[in-house]
Symmetry: D3
Subunit: 305 residues, 6 copies
């Protein structure tokens, strides 16, 4: 186990340990938020790199301030525990999903919020499954360039292109909100019209959601899944299947701030599809880290979790 | 020749052949659109890489869906033939232009539309020449950051900095529309004021063009030349002489959609100056591929070709 | 010394010498503007590369035209002298600042404007000090993502995170304008509210400044410090601590054009925190070079210097 | 199907089609060698990129001459058919292996030699299986930095770390030669001592093999599997798990030339673990292409196939 | 502090924590070796990046096996404690050195061996100082391309170009062995001839050292400082001032194995000047990690520490 | 012209001017060696980047010491004048060669040695032509991976693949030595056997040349052309058509040192085909700079030039 003895070295103040999200210094018992890395990369169709998402997002988080001027809150005021990464068996998709779900089950049972750092989008399926155990009326809010509503992809039912179809199977029609989608098959768009709440315009979608949070969705537990490719590739080039025509960071940030100010009850979230090797400038992982910070700060002060 | 025997292997369905634009599976005879690569790189002044444009744009096209939600059309509904790349003699600009023009002459004669994937902007001169043989009243619509109206560049009459001056010589005053230009010599801007229809603001220029399509330009054959540097370098960093201050992908996309919905009769087009090695994120080639898809879908259903 | 004899070679016209900003061909005595490189990189906290800023910005300047269509001016109409880079002793921050200040003192004394190409933001402290000797009523206009108002950073009083606090110490409360700031400690934002003119919205800030230029600030000498991270990382990824959520190039350009048209009396300026190795597309150095050109052209025609 | 009509265009000579290995212009029926891409990337443990191996090796092959001065042979003298890539279902290892094996079965049945371009090392298992159907006495010669003899890796029996254990299961003790191995578990080295012919020194191993080719192995069909990481990372940096301490290209080349000159009867081969995105210089794919050329030329003139 | 509570989660086996050297799982008290990161980058003259050395070397260590076939030992048999990185105040060289020395003092006092992961070469000065407190008769063995014997560099006495001069001041003439040096001023080579044991040929130098270990140096405590630029840039391109003409990995490895087999009593060591951002292939950090493994295994089983 | 006034600024010592080869501080009149950049890139067949050769080699030269321990000489002891780059008209091969030749004619006439920094190999043709005017009995020594003896390449007589055939036309059979060649057409190797002195083994070739320097070639003026691809791509990855199987830096260095010690009378030289953008580690330009230093030092002290 970890060398706790170090703490007794008189010069212990002069050491820093890499490998955790900034300010995630709480122990598991007292924490409000759990951070979990899920470096899954098993069904990626075009370009790889998501396995390095959790490590680089954590690293990038240290280049940011812990204080958000828009929310006027600081990570130091929250109790956050970074559990590390779920161990994944390579080349076995089913086992990988099972392990991610299993690893998240206890934090959910213990009433903690969790934030998953992906990893490819398929991790959302495992994470939603874990959350449903406690929150059967969960509503999923998806920020994404792609519908991800295929029934299968090259014959496989579980992939980053089918993940939201599987999630839809789990939570049921009308309980998935899709914001920013601009790519898919004709069939997927047809299904979206029937079974999801789909808004190509993120700002519009967020406004409608805020309105419903004051009405039909009041108090409903939300799951936020944030595929970084909802942003235009100019803002998040480090992702496997970038789709030109997306929004800028400011619009996405405003949508999240809007939800936070409306008191949305986000009980779990993920940020997926960050593929650091595809972005030598390193800004995609910084974007993901800043989104993570705003989610932690924006939804971390609920009356009840 | 190509191994047609493969088709008779019982497991032929399990092979895929790289090297063609997505869904470009028609034979030459039945096709409506011809795709031709022109990997010219001979007069580039600053940074090289355009020779890899055609290969990488084709590759990137496979990361996109064949369906365009904005146009509600699918490439599968079109007959597209990818002819490959024109063979170019290195270090000989005149010969290279002659070969590109010669290679495009037959598709033009056969009444097919063509889309050239560049290569540096100079390829437009050869392609316009080929198109003029059938469409003497051709109007050229140029999306570009640079006027490209120099009379010569370092003493040479043919270069990526003089190409539109040569095109202007061919089609005559008033028959070149320039959208998005923000860089040039004082003399070039003066010439543009006299001899071209120049609109620094792409959205404004496209709106005026759409209006004229309903009037003086009704039925006129259009040639579309799209220099990716019309986009801000944030959206298309993989280009030789990026010029800050350009538009975003959404604006350019909207301009094209506007022309398509106005029924513009685009008989030929090119996408030039994509220099993949300068963009390790690979998004410039994806941008070019998506623009190619929208051009094919948007202008592929004309009453007459 | 430099081989002036070359000028007498009959074929001297066929040589070009690398290493100077485009069109900076004036001698020191007759010049209006002095360009000075300050490749400081001593207190950078996250990612390095600013030492290559001056060299790459100069190189990139040659990919641009010398003519600005917005200002309708050309660098050829100005007398600009590129002095090269200040020699900096590695690993000695104090000495480095002293040498930068000393090197700039003579151009200031001689009534010339100067433009410093950084290097990290700390160079601004030395440059402002040099300018204050002649312009004691100097007002500093800072375009930046970060407040840079920490009193110390990891125990050190001089760093890129504290530089504007030190500048504020020099020029006094109310004489620093901060445009575009979106990151800092809670304490820094509190200080900004008290002691600086702070505008998260660059366009708004520039408009207020233009108004005051017609009133209380009429004729006041301005120092412009331009940290490229005021731009969103999409537009300037080559910088050490990119902060998502910034403005686009067009907005920044418009703000500068607004100041130029309002007749702002900019007596000195710097462009800092360009870190070329972090941006393989090379567009950040082109952005910096274009901003440099617009500053030289926009503020180079003052009635008095 | 493919546009054979193009052949009838009078200017067809001026087009080139990308996407095939250099000089691989034979049809299937008349060919001696089949080239097959297997872009598998499913169990990679550290860094990804092998999926781009086949495409980039083909591209790189065109930068080489078709003539080998060491062998004094030219690819133009061989009949080679490039079948393209096997279509692989993402995220399903078993299915992927089955499809690769199925795709190779017919060329084997038709008495053709095949060369597989990987993809990760696991493809060797499928390819050896296909070859065994015709050559039950096959001996496998492995050039590799790693033993790849684990029985399982993170619980999975099929991975790039266990592939040679599975191959050993198929062909039996003593029928796998391992050259260049320098990394593995203590257990793997113990197994190698018992069940394989293991030579850390490639040159030594090749010499012993050549000797046995004149004796006990005379006429025996060989399968050559070439993991590019047998080379020192200096020579082949573009690979997932580079292991310092390998040989140079010249030594590996000499070993292959030795086998060729000894008349080794290589009936099938693969080149695996080339991960182009990890090597921006692009030399790893050129190394792989040159090795492919030498294998085709060196073992392509057998008395019987 | 660290969340020890996690250990009590029933599914704790499914988590892994990034940020430590492979197999460095011992607590401080029981450990034989201490690993300490010293990400110093303060006096680098050409290209930066050493600050990322410790993090990337740790990461790369997980791509290697823990077993060394040459030494037939496994890291699992050693008790290694990774203390993390020394916290360094940016821009203050003196303070940085003082903190590194202070941080290493306790492990030395407690009789533990330490391995420092740099960071620039200057860290060696602090580390040697820490070791001298217990081992006043320390002999320093330097593998390096550069003499590093300047008395000052640009006026500064402490820099990566003067570090071995300062070390020589500390340990005295004849107590520094320099292996592989091929670059320096004429004056530095002159000083080396007088005051150090200098061997341009690493293999030769190591052999002489092994001989003296059986004689005059028997039992003497050694400090090993390994600048990765002793390797040819082909083998370790990720370093600030690569010097062509160096040795290959195999030669360096053999030299270390020779010392290990001769029973050299290495009480402390460092691996410095790894600059990961300069090597996109990532092999330099793997080279450094493998050298670290071999040092830990080769010198970790002394009779006395 | 250049600001010579700067010299009179009291603090002029604190400025450095970028853009010249290290220690090339002599004026033209007094210099022994002239350095000329020739950034030609017009006939490159595979990957581009040679245009950046001169600029990056100069920059890299400053990372090296000016002292060579092997030659025990220092650049400070030589009078070297860096003339800058020849201005080249883009896209016009003939004009480019004419301008390079014209630019070198005067230094040749004035009895100065010159060193050309390329640019693609075709520059050698212009440079040899310039040298022949004074040294009609010139012998050309070529270090290269490729024969470059094609008569034409894609129909063009002037290209980097035909350059040595054109040189052979100029100097005549038997007056070209080719060292290190390992790639070419069968016809080229046949021609080499007849008309050149060809040595695949560089060390062997250099030894034979040294022998003849003491005999038939005594006093003969030599032209050295050094294509960096003679090195294995491991040592010089930044080149357009890397050919695996080359020598290491040490062997090439030794060959040059051998010629220098044998008193070879090198009257002109070039280093070509360095393509910096293809080598993000930057070591190829450092290799080229070190070779340049050794050529300047090794052949710079002739009795007569």
């Amino acid at each position: 186990m970890f060398p706790v003895e170090v703490a007794s070295m008189e010069d212990s103040g002069s050491w820093e340990r890499p490998g955790r999200f900034v300010a995630a210094e709480a122990g598991y018992e007292e924490c409000e938020w759990v951070i979990a890395g899920a470096p899954l990369e098993a069904t990626v169709s075009y370009r790889a790199g998501t396995r390095w998402g959790p490590a680089r997002i954590r690293e990038a988080s240290h280049s940011l301030e812990t204080y958000s001027p828009e929310l006027d809150r600081d990570l130091d005021e929250l109790a956050i525990c970074d559990l590390g990464d779920v161990v994944l068996p390579l080349g076995n998709v089913g086992q990988s999903l099972a392990r991610i779900e299993a690893a998240l089950r206890r934090p959910v049972r213990d009433g903690k919020r969790f934030l998953v750092l992906g990893g490819e989008h398929l991790v959302t399926l495992a994470a939603v499954n874990a959350a449903l155990a406690r929150y059967p009326d969960l509503v999923v809010v998806q920020f994404d360039a792609h519908t991800d509503l295929r029934d299968e992809y090259l014959g496989e039912p579980y992939s980053h292109a089918t993940v939201m179809r599987r999630v839809l199977d789990l939570v049921g029609p009308g309980r998935v909100w899709q914001l920013g989608v601009r790519s898919g098959l004709r069939e997927e768009f047809a299904l979206a019209r029937e079974a999801t709440r789909a808004f190509p315009d993120v700002t519009h979608g967020a406004r409608v959601l805020v309105e419903e949070l004051a009405g039909p969705l009041r108090g409903i537990p939300l799951y936020l899944t944030l595929d970084v490719d909802v942003l235009d590739p100019a803002f998040a080039p480090g992702t496997g299947t970038p789709e030109p025509g997306g929004i800028g960071f400011v619009e996405l940030h405003q949508a999240l701030l809007g939800l936070a100010r409306a008191g949305a009850r986000v009980v779990a979230a993920d940020i997926v599809e960050t593929a650091p090797p595809l972005d030598p400038s390193g800004r995609t992982e910084i974007v993901a880290a800043k989104l993570a910070r705003e989610i932690l700060l924006g939804f971390g002060r609920g009356e009840e979790v």
